[in-house]
Symmetry: none
Subunit: 217 residues, 4 copies
Amino acid sequence: MSQNDLLRELLLLDSNEIKYSDKQLKIVEAAIETFSEKGFAASSTSEIAKKAGVAEGTIFRHYKTKKDLLLSIVTPLMAKLLGPVVAKDFVKEIFEVQYENFEQFIRNLAFNRYEFVKNHRTVVKILLQEISFHDELKEPYILLFQKHIYKDFQKTIRQFQDQGEVVMWPVNTIIRLIINTIAGTLLSMFLVLPDQNWDYDQEMEQTIDFLVKGLKG
Amino acid sequence: MSQNDLLRELLLLDSNEIKYSDKQLKIVEAAIETFSEKGFAASSTSEIAKKAGVAEGTIFRHYKTKKDLLLSIVTPLMAKLLGPVVAKDFVKEIFEVQYENFEQFIRNLAFNRYEFVKNHRTVVKILLQEISFHDELKEPYILLFQKHIYKDFQKTIRQFQDQGEVVMWPVNTIIRLIINTIAGTLLSMFLVLPDQNWDYDQEMEQTIDFLVKGLKG
Amino acid sequence: MSQNDLLRELLLLDSNEIKYSDKQLKIVEAAIETFSEKGFAASSTSEIAKKAGVAEGTIFRHYKTKKDLLLSIVTPLMAKLLGPVVAKDFVKEIFEVQYENFEQFIRNLAFNRYEFVKNHRTVVKILLQEISFHDELKEPYILLFQKHIYKDFQKTIRQFQDQGEVVMWPVNTIIRLIINTIAGTLLSMFLVLPDQNWDYDQEMEQTIDFLVKGLKG
Amino acid sequence: MSQNDLLRELLLLDSNEIKYSDKQLKIVEAAIETFSEKGFAASSTSEIAKKAGVAEGTIFRHYKTKKDLLLSIVTPLMAKLLGPVVAKDFVKEIFEVQYENFEQFIRNLAFNRYEFVKNHRTVVKILLQEISFHDELKEPYILLFQKHIYKDFQKTIRQFQDQGEVVMWPVNTIIRLIINTIAGTLLSMFLVLPDQNWDYDQEMEQTIDFLVKGLKG
DNA sequence: GATGAATGAGAGTTCATTCAT
DNA sequence: AATGAATGAACTCTCATTCAT
């Protein structure tokens, strides 16, 4: 899938209702590039307009404020991560599968997130940079995580604990270690040191091994 | 040690030669608070001045530019993390110890970083937020890490691998997993979800266990 | 010709391609007035904006910096004085004429400069005030004078010397005395004591007489 | 006479009453250098203080304001040029002499001014740069010139006219041409093109010749 | 829908001046 | 007398936003 298709997919959220004109897509692309390079606050709308090849005023036809432009980029990503509809897909894909063992679960989860971060690394970078400064981003993240994903995550872990596959530490700690480890690997590979010559497959396999061994019951 | 003492210690770097006036300390405190809350670019010098209880001009008497103010906050921290002199202390403390086993090494490393992040969490937050936007911050970090710490880290890991205590994965991967895991735990506890009721000791112990088991040879 | 037309003519340099909006002309007029009264360094952009009846930001939409505004005023004048194309016109008008005698040459030169200073006295004042502080102004002046005007000037003087009409002093000295005398008269009348009741024609005639007699061979 | 002596002489005005401390002299020197290079408005007191090797506050111990500092530099020069006491000396030296002919008068005047500009070129430069912006400088100049010098100048010229040595133009025009010519030569040599290799004596002699011939009756 | 000139609030920074030491 | 830290007003310049075209 091309970068452009991925962007469209991200923005359109599988629905064909909202229509993005060419100019609007150019704006979003330019904004993503600029926000990711300089951060939201240090990016000027005039620079984004120039990069997008549109007039300064055009941005404000589509987005009431600069912050709206940020939200329009980051919100679909969060929706995809956490939104009610999509989260269910995620939950279905990850948590409603019958796993033969813990490793299969971790592998499934890890590669699912791997695809996500690989495809949306720039927007993920923006989200990470900005999330601590904008409560509009933080709150839904926490709320929806707790509401939709956390419970299923907990249930799944408990099952593996009951089966003796996972160590009997507090579930929260185990969830945290799983997220930390997978996120750490993905961020290292795609955001922190993207220019290093990574052997993605091997890093992923060893990360999964590490997690399974580290949490063995 | 009080926060103020810690700040002084951070800024002074154990030397008593540089003298910080009361106003200057107030400015630095206000800047740390503001940068950490809003990010560097979104913080205005007028707000910092107001918070510090000084005139805006006073800031520029001590720091030529707003960016200098940022660097004056973040550079000593980096020096403490990575500077040639200090790094040696770190290397001595961590890598030139004779460990009975791998766990002891991990524990030593983890608690050393634990103290550091716990004491300097706000400045660490600023550093993490800004490092990707300012090459002045990125470059010394990479250079000094590679020069001073990386080699010793590698040697230590190889020793444990030779002793059969650590799995025979590429050393880089192992280092990455150790750093990811410890950093993940510390950032979770002190920066991402600082308001959660953490049982620090238990989290640290389980993180150490997790690392040792996950990397067992 | 009205002052406004003269300003337009000066700025447009005989080409109609560059378009100056009303606001931009207002800004230039206000800047000329202010710079001329207070000098460049002591003029504030806020005062210029107020005088021009525009917002301060508008100035910087048209001119990247305050100095650019100065240069945009003074450069066309220098081009008119010295620029390669225009200087040729000047050279043609002054130096490529066959003069019956030295007096005719001096008269031609003096009245040519008279018209120039009379029409552009304010901008000439700014140029004189600022030229010694800004190398961008000084250098082209010296270069182009030497390149385009000086040689022809020299040749013309030598001819009159050969014809026995002009005293056998070093040509440089003679050129200097001519420029000094004409410039002195024009500056006295238009810039130093503009409020005195000058009989322009008589002053010019006597200046010409003085020069011709003073330099007689 | 050394530069320092000349400065002292200029400041002290032959009286020993006002006492200049070493620091104060340093300040004045630094101010002269800075004002002359950048102009009054573009010179900062902090730069002057640094150049003088004194603290910023020290300047304001001696001079209430920055402008006072300018006046303290320029006023003695003007006094020397035009002041009631000194002007009389000048008048005596120049106008109360019995001249054998017009040339002797011009020569006396020209070399008197030559010495003056040669010795005080930097301060003369400052005066010329600033005179049109500060009415405090302009007014006494005009007043005192008219009151003290102009009358004697007029009388002297009329005498030479009566003797048939000087052309019967309006006296004002003749005075203007004399001042223009001498000033033009001195400014050319000492301020406009000081780096050119001038043969001062020859330029002066030819200037005098030029004036005498140009104004011959 | 798109433009881009215009805005004006506010940004970072400078600077003449004050004053406790 | 001399200092230099501190001031705050004013400076140049930027920027998100508006609006007539």
